[in-house]
């Protein structure tokens, strides 16, 4: 059997891992028994790294060193408006990296965003390995459909740092549709409405009963998600508090973190109840020995009016998606809701109204993406070929031409893999190199689009301008990742260059991070073994300790008894020292002696 491939939904707020078990995909619960794990990473005062639920729990007391929603920053440039916005609202420190990328400062160290994401991926990998009892090295990781190439590449890098070979990046709504339609013989045109923690995507697909999933169109907003809904609640709470007490809670990072948690909790509760109370005692100190409390009732109606425009924005994007797909609303035969936010009744209502049909509730909004990723992973490596996924490129691809215009080569929503070829010529006499700026986006103006990479072809023959012809082929592979091949038409000499999407990291950096992540893995595994040995030793030592009085009384002054007790005490001493030193090997050695001693002591007492 081929090696197992896990599917990971690397979410803004929560992540989820799944694997194919037999013919059906299954979500793997983490050690706490939860099927999703918060995508939160923290570093404690002692320098210890925390990921998941534990990181989330300590976030309030360690807000400045706790990273949440790193996905909103991945693959982005430091000077982008989105990052500027994040700097304003995030409790952790965001600094500029050496390549104009984003770095996050935790304690005295800075981390790249792919590194932070890799910590979450590594956690998911460990969850899967513990469950499967085998090493896992291959994964399919999902990204929002509207992610550009830089964001995809950065996500791939994160996988590599975590020691995972990401065999395919797939789009979240597409993954959801796989889980929705896989093996069910469905023959329908469906829309997948995916509102997650940080991103919104809408995809329209045709699912053929032959197991072919063909995406017709996809669009979205990478900065619209559950966090924006939370922010509205926070604004409302902060404003109310300001009006009442004339105190701005935003100035206090700890208060802000508590507000964030409370807002999310209230939002979730309002999906099932009409109103909820936000109760945050001692939210902020007010002068000497006094503290102010925040207590306010939030109703579902208030929440809906606070977020009305956000919901409307998603519907506008849905409308655009149908236009792009050249479909009428009545041609959509089912609507699948994905992402925790779709539990909100106002969203279900708005989606139902727009698509003129009750949305499908057959899939689990938090798990369906990971399930789909696991299906795709298995379909790729197994020889059954039950399913083929045809995805599209969410953004147009082109180059910057004279006058800073964007010349489109591959249009948006083109089914991948695809390629286009165009011939370019040199523009200066004796030019020996050409520079091509590869861009992605929908604007006619080059500078409004995302620069994927600069492409320099060298070693051209010296000739008058226009004389050297270079055939450039743009290719998008099944991963949605772009490569450019260039061929000198005269010499036939070809140069093949992968556009290294600027994930913000150089190849060497990724390798170095991989190495240190691997070190960390060894360290971490060691920790676990030490912890297990320590617990076992502590238990045995406590048992032996408890038997000392009885043993001493039984053997009395006998030499044998005194000797045995002495030896036992020495063993315990050695074990304590080993625990102090974190010397797992010695502890393990002592474990046997301890358990022998314990058996012998019980024997001594029993005989008497």
């Amino acid at each position: 059997m081929a090696e197992r491939v896990i599917g990971i939904d690397l979410g803004t707020t929560n992540s989820c891992v799944a694997v194919m078990e037999g013919d059906a995909p299954a979500v793997i619960p983490n050690r706490g028994g939860y099927k999703t794990t918060p995508s939160i990473v923290a570093v404690t005062e002692a320098g210890k790294r925390l990921v998941g639920h534990i990181a989330k729990r300590q976030a309030i007391t360690n807000a400045e060193n706790t990273v949440y929603a790193a996905k909103r920053l991945i693959g982005r440039k430091f000077n982008s408006p989105q990052v500027k916005n994040a700097i304003m609202t995030c409790s952790y420190g965001i600094v500029e990296g050496p390549h104009g990328d984003v770095r996050i400062k935790l304690r005295d160290k800075t981390y790249s965003v792919p590194e932070i994401s890799s910590m979450v991926l590594q956690e998911m990998k460990v969850i899967a390995e513990d469950y499967l009892g085998e090493t896992v090295s291959k994964a399919v990781v999902t990204v929002p459909a509207y992610f550009n190439d830089n964001q995809r590449q950065a996500t791939k890098d994160a996988g590599a740092i975590a020691g995972l070979d990401v065999i395919r990046i797939i789009n979240e709504p597409t993954a959801a549709s796989l889980a929705y339609g896989f093996g069910k013989g469905i023959d329908k045109t469906v829309a997948v409405y995916d509102l997650g923690g940080g991103t919104f995507d809408i995809s329209v697909l045709e699912i053929g009963s032959h197991g072919v999933f063909k995406v017709i169109g996809t669009t979205g907003d990478t900065f619209l998600g559950g966090e924006d809904f939370d922010a509205r609640i926070i604004d409302w709470l902060v404003q109310g508090f300001l009006d009442e007490h004339d105190v701005d809670l935003r100035q206090d990072r700890m208060a802000l973190q508590r507000l964030r948690d409370a807002a999310e909790k209230a939002k979730c509760e309002l999906s099932s109840v009409r109103e909820t109370e936000v109760n945050l005692p001692f939210i902020i100190s007010a002068g000497r020995n006094e503290a102010l409390h925040l207590q306010r009732v939030l109703s579902r109606d208030t929440l809906e009016s606070l977020c009305e425009d956000l919901v409307e924005r998603t519907i506008d994007i849905c409308r655009q998606a149908l236009v792009d797909a050249k479909l009428d609303v009545d041609e959509i035969e089912d609507v699948v809701l994905v992402g925790g936010m779709t539990r909100m009744p106002a969203i279900q209502l708005a989606v139902g109204d727009f698509f003129q049909r009750e949305p499908n509730r057959g899939v689990h909004p938090d798990e369906v993406v990971a399930l789909g990723a696991a299906i795709q992973g298995a379909a790729l490596v197994e020889d059954k070929h039950e399913m083929i996924l045809l995805d599209v490129t969410p953004h147009a691809l082109g180059i910057m031409t004279f006058g800073s215009y964007f010349e489109e080569l591959i249009p948006q929503n083109t089914t991948v893999p695809t390629s286009r070829t165009k011939v370019f010529t040199t523009s200066r006499d004796n030019q020996t190199a050409v520079k091509i700026l590869v861009m992605q986006g929908e604007s006619k103006k080059a500078d409004e689009n995302e620069l994927l990479g600069e492409f320099i072809l060298t070693g051209l023959r010296r000739a008058p301008k226009g004389h050297v012809e270079i055939e450039v082929t743009f290719e998008i592979n099944t991963d949605g990742i772009v490569s450019v091949n260039a061929k000198d038409l005269e010499t036939g000499q070809a140069q093949s260059i992968q556009v290294t999407a600027t994930s913000g990291l150089t190849h060497d950096e990724v390798k170095q991070m991989m190495a240190s992540a691997a070190d960390y893995m060894v360290e971490r595994r060691g920790d676990e073994q030490f912890e297990a040995a320590r617990q076992e030793a502590e238990t045995l030592m406590a048992q032996v300790d408890a038997l000392f009085p009885d043993v001493e009384r039984t053997v009395g002054g006998a030499d044998f008894g005194r000797d045995a007790v002495q030896k036992a005490k020495a063993t315990i001493e050695r074990t304590r020292e080993a625990i102090q030193r974190k010397d797992t090997a010695t502890i393990k050695e002592q474990l046997e002696t301890l358990s022998r001693t314990e058996r012998m002591f019980r024997g001594v007492i029993g005989r008497s």
């Binding site: 032959h210 197991g211 996924l389 893999p417 008058p464 004389h467």
Partner: protein, 501 residues
């Protein structure tokens, strides 16, 4: 390759011929495919040119109607082409000797599509799959969207989708994930890309309608082109008509000798004269052609002589025979005139011209017919040119620049126009075609319309492409003199000034 092996075309079992989207030429070739004949022998058997045969075979392979197989020569003695033709030659219209004859090599049919050594490339694919990939890949350019998906022209949306989904499962690169594919990977991607293009285009009503119209148009253009230029076919038809004239004359003779009891016999070829008089017909024809016809009542030389027989019986019989031949000829000529008229009614000037040409061959001394023919020929050429322009425009819109250049070229032969010359140059420029040809056309466009700025820019761009920088600058500057305020010209001149060109 084993010298005892040879490659023959075989029919694929279970293929319903009648549902294939093929024309008479392919059907003719298909009829000759018997699992024994090599492609070289097929060329002999069908009398088609190498190019035509290859085209037909390629389409039939793409449609899955036939495949090539290797057979052992030892078990199946190779027939001599000439003697083998015994069965097939009865169907031959044209002498087999005309078919090009090449030294036969195994895989010759395959070699027509691709170099068989490509099958030897190391890849984790079995030979059958490699062959199918190559067969498809090398037929991509010459296949229609229907052929690429292997569906008939009349296929409905569901059939197209099903065919596409099935093809995707076989040819999507993910089907071979993790396998070493070498150059087959790119080929698979191209096949997939083209199939997707075909699916996307054919499953949308608007684009499919446009494409169907384009296909019909280009096929009609090709067949009309053939009709106009194929002298051999016309000669054959004239020959046939002459035979019919003779047969009819003989029949008349028999009827005259043994007069039947009943009413006059029906013509054996359905060629009974229509109640319309010939003059009326000519006038109607002339009206349709937009000119006044030959003067009404103008008699033709075909009127039978009226003198009664008075000399020897032999002389009498000879004259009688001549009369009958003349009458039969008139019948045939009338028939072709009627056909021409019908064709004109349907706005098919090419068919009309063809019919008139045959009529003129039968009655070379009839000045009226010659005049009609001239008019019809002019109109046919104009019509065909217009259709080719439409074809070219569709090709241009689909980015098939070289095809568009060819169609524009075909159009300009029927209708001289600077615009068409300019379009040829433009399409050749965009499609990286022959620069010399492009500059010829651009210059001709300018010769016809020297003051057209757009044409001059095109010529300048062609010069740039050809590396004739000084000439190009000269043309841009001349364009600037003609239209100093044209934005496009200004932008080019600016670029020259900045030294970007």
């Amino acid at each position: 390759m084993d010298s005892n092996q040879r490659t023959v075309a075989c029919r694929v079992q279970g293929v319903d011929e009648t549902s294939l989207p093929i024309g008479p030429e392919e059907a003719f070739v298909l009829a000759q495919v018997d699992g024994k004949t090599t492609s070289a022998d097929l060329a002999l058997a069908t009398g088609l040119s190498r190019e035509q045969l290859e085209g037909a075979l390629t389409r039939l392979i793409a449609l899955g109607a036939i495949r090539f197989e290797e057979v052992d020569q030892a078990s199946e003695p190779r027939p001599q082409p000439r003697s083998e033709g015994a069965g097939a030659s009865s169907r031959l219209e044209r002498p087999a000797i005309e078919a090009p004859r090449r030294t036969e090599t195994p895989h010759q049919a395959a070699a027509a599509l691709y170099d068989p050594s490509e099958l030897d490339e190391a890849a984790e694919l079995d030979l059958i799959r490699k062959r199918r990939i190559l067969d498809l890949f090398y037929a991509l350019d010459s296949s229609t969207h229907y052929e690429v998906l292997g569906v008939p022209r009349a296929a409905d949306k569901k059939e197209i989708k099903d065919a596409y989904y099935d093809a995707v499962r076989q040819y999507h690169p993910d089907r071979f994930f993790g396998k070493q594919l070498g150059s087959f990977k790119t080929k698979l991607e191209r096949i997939f890309q083209r199939m997707t293009e075909a699916h996307d285009l054919l499953t949308r009503k608007k684009t499919r309608d446009e494409y169907d119209a384009y296909l019909r148009g280009s096929e009609r253009n090709a067949s009309e082109d053939r009709l106009l230029s194929d002298e051999r076919a016309r000669a054959a038809e004239v020959e046939q008509a002459r035979r019919r004239i003779e047969e009819t004359a003989r029949l008349m003779e028999r009827v005259a000798r043994n007069p039947p009891d009943t009413a006059p016999p029906a013509s054996p070829h359905g060629l009974a004269p229509r109640p319309i008089s010939e003059d009326e017909r000519r006038r109607a024809l002339a009206r349709r052609l937009g000119r006044s016809g030959p003067p009404a009542g103008a008699t033709t030389s075909s009127a039978p002589p009226r003198e009664p027989p008075r000399e020897a019986v032999a002389e009498d019989l000879r004259r009688m025979w001549e009369q009958r031949v003349l009458a039969a000829r008139q019948q045939q000529v009338d028939q072709y005139l009627a056909t021409a008229q019908d064709a004109l009614k349907r706005d098919e000037a090419v068919a009309a011209a063809n019919a008139l040409r045959i009529a003129a061959s039968l009655a070379p001394d009839d000045a009226g017919i010659t005049a009609l023919l001239e008019q019809a020929t002019v109109r046919a050429a104009a019509d065909l040119a217009q259709s080719y322009v439409e074809q070219a425009q569709y090709e241009e819109r689909s980015g098939r620049w070289l095809a568009a250049a060819r169609s524009y070229d075909r159009a300009v032969r029927g209708k001289e126009s600077p615009r068409l010359h300019e379009r040829i140059a433009h399409c050749l420029l965009e499609g990286e075609g022959d620069v010399r040809e492009a500059s010829d056309h651009a210059r001709r466009a300018l010769a016809l319309a020297p003051d057209n700025v757009e044409y001059r820019i095109t010529l300048a761009r062609v010069y740039l492409k050809a590396g004739l920088r000084q000439s190009a600058i000269g043309e841009f500057e001349r364009a600037g003199q003609i239209a100093p305020n044209d934005d496009n010209v200004k932008s080019w001149l600016r670029r020259i000034k900045r030294g970007e060109l």
